[in-house]
């Protein structure tokens, strides 16, 4: 099974980099530019892992992950927050939503792939 990953970021550069890294690892990637769009896409599709930015226009990471968790199919889906934010309030909010990790930008694409693979329980080498 090829993992299907939802990547949410308002920055085109970041979306493209993360996409290239994930696709490079042989995974499928769907992109969204904000939480709202991501929520719509999450309803239509089914994702094995979600990578989301925190501070985005229209709907930020908090609103998105809340909406995501409200859907039964995403109750236990691993969610990674990928952001430059470091404040404790945001982190605590994410923790309450059972987020698997808070990854601080700048992100090392290869390191991210390893981390994601670990969460998915697969060996990235294969």
């Amino acid at each position: 099974m090829i993992p299907n990953i939802l990547v949410v970021d308002d920055s085109l550069t970041m979306r493209l980099i993360v996409q290239a890294a994930m696709v490079g690892a042989g995974w499928k990637v769907v992109l969204a530019t904000n939480g709202k769009e991501a929520l719509d896409k999450s309803q239509d599709g089914s994702f094995d892992l979600v990578l989301s930015d925190w501070n985005m226009p229209v709907m930020g990471g908090l609103g998105f992950i809340q909406g995501l968790r409200a859907q039964s199919k995403y109750k236990d889906t691993p969610v990674l927050v990928l952001t430059t934010e470091e404040d404790d309030v945001s982190k605590a909010a994410a923790r309450e939503l059972d987020v698997s990790g808070w990854v601080n930008k700048p992100v090392d694409p290869d390191g991210l792939v390893e981390f994601v693979a670990e969460l998915l329980g697969i060996d990235p080498a294969n």
Partner: protein, 687 residues
């Protein structure tokens, strides 16, 4: 693992950062330092945040990453309310934006940004952070460090009190009409903070004193209890900062569950309900823009325009060929051709509109220019822009920036007075500069108006005399104003570093003329000056009059043609050797014989058997002698230089319906080439 080559994303990052910086500048200019709008602050922060994130990820743009990092920290403290925003901070932020832009440009050119500038701006930003003490600048390491990943070990859900959180009511499988009623009911129970609808479900966050049971009881009038779920939780981030009185907004923007993208999640902006804070829309706009537009290279668009041009020509050729056919026999073919003509015309119009860009692209850079210049000159100036949505061809819009900047500088420097002078003149101390754009037929009219001192007639005349420009004391004002377009003309009492540095109004006029337009000035002493630029909407098609000279066909730009006539013997005077002038209603016009100007054989030699077309170029009029008029056409302009070489007196070429090439006459060039001959010729006649 094979490392991902990040350099392939540089271009995307540069473009994105460019856009973000422009956005940041616009937002900073709109920001009210006394009462900053939280949405605007967030959007500014987000721009800095995105640039930093990208720059740091690449690892190669250290200076850019560090500068944005410092800026981001300050913005973060301000938006959190840890630091109060001051007007001078906005200035520093704007300056930082300029530095970031220059850093970005340097990286784009594969150069290292200026070290001194970088050190200085960082010092300024660090000092700002220390001054307030609230948020010391974080160490540079944060942005320079390689990837740091912190996996959080999730503790059991923290036991924060739930009572202070809003009540969240979630209802699944609800119709649009029921959702509307539910929202209204909940509005009666408390204050609706935020609502969202998605895939048939409705979520409402509200502040209420009612118990869960009460809410359930009310909702059960409309839906079943098992569709309901009521919890206490924070509203989504985007709604958290939102103001009250959102109920109306949420209700009015509510869309049925099966409709995509409810707009309630985006606070205000396009919602009808009035909002105390201004302009939340700019923050939301870029996201919308991204999903509804695509980036296409200009050369691709130009290629389409060229092809459509060819199509229109082919269609014209077909129509011309078919015009000899018997309409009764070939009824269906002719109908089809008519249809083709309409379609081709529509297609051409649609394709041309792709190249069109709103004037906003130009106007948006002026608030900054005006702000900077005004503070430099100790003047108070309010800038107003109208017609930002007016569209103009991309190639023209880029070329209009410099002339407009020059006009604005002139208005600010020489036009609008200092506040004390204005008060003395019984005027509002705040000067007003208005820029507007509007369509007028096939033209766009761009105006720059100031309410300053106006042009000084005496000073212009004096200066013109010094420069040896022929003048007379009783010249009408319009002609006096035209004098300032003379090369090297400047009436400024002293040359300032803002304007009056050699580049004069003559360059402005030359630039505008090269774009196929013209400039007009009007001014009233003590009341201000208006500069009016008239430009064709596009350079790719032209309304022309085709004329025949010998075997050749020429196209005269229709907007320069004023009238045509067959001259009589007594209207033609020969002066100064073989130069001729045409006497029309008391006016002596230089007569330019096309067959002589362009050396065409077989042309009509006798002027009384030919047609004189009277042309208006700038302030001068002249008559062009042609054999006969053929008709009016919209022609597709083909660049002659690209396909052949520059020909004096010819601006471009086009392909006619019969497939032959016709040359488009450069009216200004003809006027310039004949100018000296004219004045001497006209004087000879008059004396």
């Amino acid at each position: 693992m094979s490392g991902l080559d990040l350099s392939q994303f540089y271009e995307t990052f540069f473009d994105e950062a460019d856009e973000l910086l422009a956005q940041m500048e616009q937002l900073l200019l709109e920001l009210d330092a006394q009462a900053p709008d939280i949405e605007q602050l967030n959007a500014i922060f987000r721009a800095a945040h995105s640039i930093k994130g990208g720059a740091a990820t690449f690892g190669t743009f250290q200076k850019l990453a560090e500068t944005t990092h410092l800026l981001e920290n300050l913005l973060d403290a301000i938006r959190r309310g840890d630091m109060a925003l001051r007007a001078d901070m906005v200035d520093i932020f704007l300056e930082t934006k300029d530095v970031l832009k220059s850093q970005l440009d340097a990286y784009r050119a594969s150069e290292e940004p200026d070290e001194a500038v970088y050190e200085r701006i960082c010092a300024v930003l660090r000092q700002l952070a220390e001054e307030d003490g609230a948020h010391g600048a974080a160490p540079a390491a944060a942005s320079a460090a390689p990837a740091r990943e912190e996996t959080m070990h999730m503790p059991a859900a923290s036991a924060t009190g739930t009572s202070d959180k809003p009540t969240c009511v979630r209802i699944r499988d609800v119709s649009g009409k029921d959702a509307q009623s539910l929202l209204e009911e909940m509005g009666n129970l408390g204050t609706v903070l935020h609502s969202e609808s998605k895939s048939g479900g409705l979520s409402v966050w509200m502040q209420t004193t009612c118990s869960v049971a009460d809410i359930e009881a009310v909702c059960c009038f409309i839906v079943d209890a098992d569709q309901l779920r009521i919890t206490h939780e924070a509203a989504p981030a985007s709604a958290a900062s939102d103001v009250v009185s959102q109920f109306e907004a949420a209700a009015s923007s509510f869309t049925p569950p099966d409709a995509p993208a409810p707009s309630a999640a985006r606070p205000a902006g396009n919602v009808a309900a009035p909002r105390p804070q201004k302009a939340a829309t700019p923050a939301a706009a870029p996201a919308d823009k991204e999903s509804t537009s695509i980036r296409v290279g200009v050369e691709k668009v130009d290629q389409i325009i060229n092809l459509v041009g060819e199509l229109v020509i082919t269609q014209a050729m077909l129509t011309q060929t078919a015009s000899t056919l018997d309409p009764v026999v070939h009824d269906r073919l002719l109908n089809g051709l008519e249809q083709l003509e309409r379609n081709a015309r529509d297609l051409q119009e649609s394709v041309m509109s792709i190249r069109m860009m709103p004037m906003d692209y130009v106007f948006s850079r002026f608030p900054r220019v005006v702000r900077d210049l005004a503070s430099k000159m100790g003047k108070q100036i309010e800038l107003e822009t109208h017609g930002r949505a007016t569209e103009l061809d991309k190639s023209l819009i880029e070329r209009i920036i410099d002339p407009l900047t020059h006009l604005v500088r002139n208005s600010l420097d020489h036009g609008i007075e200092t506040p004390d002078k204005r008060i003395a003149a019984d005027k509002d101390p705040v000067g007003k500069l208005t820029m507007s754009a509007q369509h007028h037929g096939g033209n766009i009219v761009i105006q720059v108006t100031d309410d300053g001192a106006g042009l000084n007639r005496e000073r212009i005349l004096k200066k013109a005399m010094e420069q040896g420009i022929p003048i007379s004391e009783n010249m009408p004002d319009e002609e006096v104003w035209q004098l300032i377009f003379a090369p090297g003309f400047s009436t400024a009492e002293k040359i300032t570093d803002v304007s009056g540095r050699g580049v004069g109004m003559d360059v402005v006029r030359r630039n505008i003329q090269d774009m196929g337009g013209h400039v007009q000035l009007s001014s009233r002493t003590g009341q201000g000056t208006t500069t009016r630029i008239v430009l064709p909407l596009t350079l790719a098609i032209l309304d022309g009059m085709s004329v025949r000279v010998g075997v050749e066909t020429f196209i005269l730009p229709l907007n320069h043609v004023t009238e045509s006539m067959q001259p009589t013997e007594d209207q033609i005077y020969t002066v100064a050797g073989d130069e001729r002038v045409l006497h029309v209603r008391g006016e002596y016009l230089p007569l330019v014989e096309m067959h002589r100007a362009f050396a065409v054989g077989d042309a009509q030699q006798d002027p009384t058997q030919a047609i004189a077309v009277i042309m208006q170029a700038e302030d001068k009029r002249f008559a062009l002698l042609v054999d006969h008029l053929v008709g009016q056409h919209q022609v597709v302009v083909k660049n002659l230089e690209a396909n052949y070489r520059k020909v004096p007196g010819i601006s471009a070429a086009t392909i006619m319906g019969d497939g032959s090439v016709a040359l488009i006459v450069d009216v200004f060039a003809l006027a310039r080439a004949n100018r000296e001959k004219w004045s001497s010729a006209a004087e000879t006649v008059l004396n």
